[in-house]
């Protein structure tokens, strides 16, 4: 190994950071990181390299006239100009960008990365990891992380936090957490430099994440790929293997990050199509052990005989976003507000109420705001017990309309619904004639008003809520999968 290359025990971590940096941030090799604390400038570090072929060197750069000054009083372009000049005069390099980090971010990051690198055998709790990721949005929104010129992902994450109240990120992380929560798993991320394994295990009952220190070379022959995955399963001693082509996923994430927010209806459709296309490409973009049952030809044949044509390769990725867009239009008329309600049932009484208002314009989500505690308390007064959900939501709709004149519908979701959503998706991927009953029971959650309810009930929801689980499975099969290749 090269003398200046990172040592073996952090090679995987180093690969992960490098790939992440090159995909999402400015690929420039010279930059300056500025530290701030409590709104004041503290210091600056230059990441300068005279020779691009060699690993870079850290240099202490002087903050000069800005040290001790208020951050709010200095514009980032001014700082950038200052360091560009310093870079040219003192180090003979061109500074590509500057990044400002608050001490809170630095401490949290150091603490987090320290656990990944040093406690690699022990790992870090999954919850802590997800919390760290969930904090990135608010840090960007609060100006605790800044970069100039700003990469698209910064603007995207910051605006997601501001425009959508960070809800999409929270839902995404929640869904990841619900992915087979009780089993051990190794996620293999395939980068051009090799495959990095992120293992999920348990310390007692607490799920922990461990980064495997080695970077594994992928098999040269793709025919031996299933054997390779099996060997990885044995190596990491886990129940599940999830293989992801990180380049494809990063490419999608970059496309998502470069979108202007709020997303237009057309853009949402395109991104939805692209995401579903990734899901459709089993064996190329992603792979799993044990593999989803619907990938197997025999299971598919038996499913098809009983009228359930679930075929991942034929997922109607081009049509599903269009249908969802139509459903939204027929629910809201293409404009207005939606009140999203979330509650946990404790002894038939709703607790942990959370409410968001989603604003819709031109059939696209414009913004999401959290309902203030006063209004929430007022709405909570209208909430009855578990058996009176329909009446309660109708009352809430009328009461909320006094404040939100353009309110078109109230959507109620219970925590139970959120928990079973990923399980239902996994059930769809593993459907077989013997598991149809359990899947139909899972899908029946849409019919239970205390789990999921929309008021006023649009025609499509009324129809779905009336049909049985088996009928719904057949409709999913017809609408979400193409019968022929074309």
């Amino acid at each position: 190994m090269n003398q200046e290359s990172p040592s073996n025990n952090i090679l995987a971590f180093w690969t992960l950071v490098q790939e992440f940096q090159s995909q999402f941030f400015d690929a420039g090799i010279n930059y300056v990181e500025i530290l701030t604390e409590g709104g004041e400038f503290q210091g600056a570090f230059g990441y300068f390299s005279q020779d691009p072929a060699r690993a870079a060197n850290w240099e202490r750069a002087s903050l000069g006239p800005f040290e001790g000054q208020e951050v709010a009083g200095t514009s980032i372009p001014t700082l950038f100009d200052y360091f560009t000049q310093i870079g040219k005069e003192q180090y003979n390099v061109t500074v590509s960008f500057i990044r400002m980090l608050d001490a809170e971010v630095v401490n949290a990051s150091l603490d987090f990365f320290d656990q990944i690198i040093r406690n690699e055998q022990k790992g870090i709790p999954t919850e802590k990891c997800l919390n760290f990721l969930a904090n990135i949005g608010p840090w960007l929104s609060n100006g605790k992380i800044k970069q100039y010129p700003e990469p698209p992902i910064f603007a995207f994450l910051r605006e997601v936090g501001v425009i959508y109240a960070n809800l999409p990120v929270t839902i995404f992380l929640h869904l990841i957490e619900r992915l087979r929560p009780e089993q051990t798993r190794s996620t293999l991320l395939h980068f051009p430099a090799g495959i990095v394994a992120l293992n999920k295990g348990f310390a007692g009952k607490t799920p922990i994440l461990t980064l495997n220190p080695e970077v594994v070379k992928p098999p040269a022959d793709w025919e031996t790929f299933p054997d390779f995955l099996q060997s990885q399963k044995k190596t990491h001693n886990v129940q599940n293997i999830l293989y992801l082509d990180a380049e494809e996923i990063a490419s999608f994430a970059k496309e998502l990050a470069s979108s202007n927010l709020p997303l237009s209806s057309e853009r949402t459709n395109v991104l939805g199509q692209r995401a579903l296309n990734l899901l459709r490409n089993y064996g190329e973009v992603w792979s799993a052990i044990p593999r989803p049952l619907i990938v197997g030809n025999w299971i598919r044949l038996f499913n098809r005989i009983i009228g359930v044509n679930f075929n991942l390769r034929n997922l109607s990725y081009w049509y599903i976003p269009h249908t969802l867009s139509n459903a939204l239009r027929l629910t809201t008329g293409g404009t207005g507000s939606l009140l999203l309600f979330r509650a946990t049932w404790t002894n038939n009484i709703p607790t942990n109420l959370l409410a968001y208002v989603a604003s819709i314009e031109e059939n696209s989500l414009q913004s999401i705001t959290i309902v203030d505690p006063e209004t929430l308390a007022k709405l909570q007064e209208e909430f009855g017990n578990k058996k009176q959900v329909k009446d309660s939501i109708a009352k809430i709709f009328l009461v909320a309309r006094e404040q939100m004149k353009n309110l078109k519908a109230v959507i109620f979701l219970s925590e139970e619904f959120g928990k079973s959503f990923m399980a239902t998706l996994q059930g769809c991927l593993n459907v077989n004639p013997l598991k149809l009953v359990s899947l139909s029971r899972r899908l029946n959650i849409l019919k239970r008003s205390h789990c999921f309810y929309i008021y006023p009930e649009p025609a499509w929801y009324k129809y779905i809520a009336r049909m049985g689980g088996f009928t719904l499975i057949r409709w999913i099969s017809r609408l979400c999968f193409d019968p022929y290749e074309f």
Binding site: G333, G334, T335, A459
Partner: protein, 452 residues
């Protein structure tokens, strides 16, 4: 001082514009006779929210204003189109609870109907409740339509009108000769309804307009905000004012043109002050997208339409079918190779000999002996020679009706191609079928089977 007959209020906020309009009117208190039942007619054509239906925002404001008057009986009523059950649609839109919230009642009009007839012999029935009401407020939604320009104030009354007039029923000669008079007859029926019971007050929400390819959201309509509230005592004047604001010429709205010819439109209702306001606001920053009548406009890839002398009713319904397939049948159209519609009393030959959909009685009668009814195939007989055999073309779907109803047509198409090959259309039809009146569905099917 007498209240103006037409009030136009522009502004960013609907509530403020409505309040200012009411102030100019002198409040509803000055208009409504005390202690008498009030009838409120709203638009609810399909199970779709505003802008297709009357917006809750304006209905809220009107009901709150009436609630403050403490009137003994307030009735909100609407009748959907195409055989949808009023009760089910109102329930799906949450209208029962909204009316109840303001102490009003949502009325399903299935009571006594009074017979009406026009001088030219058009027969229709009209609900007794509306004729008996002492004060009648109409709150229409504005919907753009390929045939009628837009549908607004004058049309709200006609939802209650059930025309008993017999149409030519597929006689190509009569249909082609009277193709224009059909529209005239429809307009006459509207005028008849308006003559019988004009709304005492019409309130129009210009913040929730269904622009684009109306008359519904499912046909491709989009919400448009023109930021105005219109309050008027004359429905024709209200429609005329809407036309001026939205940039329609009078001759682009057949109903207004017809009403002007009949001398019903009182141009004086738009005062010089209002005229100035309307002219100032006529040029909207982004004009609303209009509905396109042309069949060939933005048709889905695999649909061809061959039209020859089609009447306005067939045109209108076929346009709705095509729009529905474009919006909801995207997946289905990928599964069928092509769909060739022929319509009218002298339809041209379709582009291909398969998947032909003959739309309406005129096209059906006119194409009885058409060449595409049969196909010639080559067969090798025992001697080894090739022989040409003529067979009946089975890939033809005949849709009966004059005109055929859009949802019925879509059901026939779905059945023709089998529901598994037409999944998305079948799904949406089934979802909407739940809200249709079963009695009316049975009646329509009985008529179709009798004709068959």
């Amino acid at each position: 001082m007498e209240a103006p007959s037409l009030i136009v209020e522009f502004g960013e906020d609907l509530s403020i514009s409505f309040a200012l309009g009411m102030e100019k009117l002198g409040g509803l208190q000055s208009q409504v006779p005390p202690g008498k039942p009030i009838f409120i007619a709203i638009s609810m054509p399909y199970p779709e929210p505003a802008p297709s239906s009357t917006s809750f925002a304006i209905l809220d404001l009107v009901l709150a204003e009436i609630q403050s008057l403490n009137e003994p009986q307030v009735v909100v009523a609407a009748v959907p189109e195409w055989g949808f059950a009023a009760e089910k649609v109102a329930n799906a839109l949450g209208l029962f609870e909204l009316a109840k919230h303001y102490g009003a009642e949502f009325l399903v009009l299935d009571g006594i109907q009074r017979d009406l007839s026009s001088p030219t012999g058009i027969k229709a029935t009209f609900p007794q409740e509306l004729l008996d009401s002492s004060y009648f407020i109409s709150i229409p939604s504005i919907r753009f339509d390929p045939l009628q320009g837009f549908i607004a104030a004058c049309e709200v009354n006609t939802q209650f009108l059930e025309v008993k007039e017999k149409l030519p029923q597929g006689n190509p000669k009569e249909c082609s000769e009277n193709s224009l008079s059909l529209q005239d007859k429809a307009l006459e029926a509207i005028l008849m309804a308006l003559n019988k019971r004009l709304p005492d007050l019409t309130i129009v929400d210009g913040y929730n307009i269904l622009a684009g390819q109306g008359p519904a959201l499912f046909t491709g309509g989009t919400q448009y905000n023109a930021r105005f509230v219109l309050i008027g005592k004359n429905s024709f004047a209200v429609d005329l004012a809407i036309a001026k604001i939205l940039g329609f010429a009078s001759n682009e709205i057949p109903l207004i043109e017809r009403a002007q010819q009949a001398g019903v439109v009182d141009e004086q209702a738009i005062s010089p002050e209002n005229e100035i306001i309307l002219q100032q606001k006529q040029e909207l920053v982004v004009p609303p997208p209009r509905a396109v009548k042309d069949f060939t406009y933005n048709l889905p890839n695999r649909i061809n339409v061959s039209e020859g002398n089609a009447c306005c009713l067939c045109e209108q319904n076929l346009r709705v079918v095509c729009d529905f397939l474009r919006e909801f049948g995207k997946k289905d159209l990928n599964l069928v190779e092509q769909l060739n519609f022929i319509v009218g009393s002298a339809p041209p030959t379709p582009r291909a000999k398969k998947n032909i959909c003959i739309f309406g009685e005129c096209a059906r009668n006119a194409s009885q002996n058409a060449s595409f009814r049969s196909i010639t195939i080559k067969r090798i007989v025992k001697t080894g020679e090739e022989k040409e055999v003529t067979k009946r073309n089975k890939k033809i779907l005949e849709i009966r009706g004059c005109p055929p109803l859009p949802l019925e047509t879509l059901r026939h198409i779905s059945k023709f191609f089998s529901p598994s090959n037409f999944p998305s259309t079948t799904f949406w039809l089934a979802a909407w079928g739940n809200l249709q009146s079963k009695q009316k569905q049975k009646q329509t099917r009985a008529v179709h089977s009798r004709r068959a």
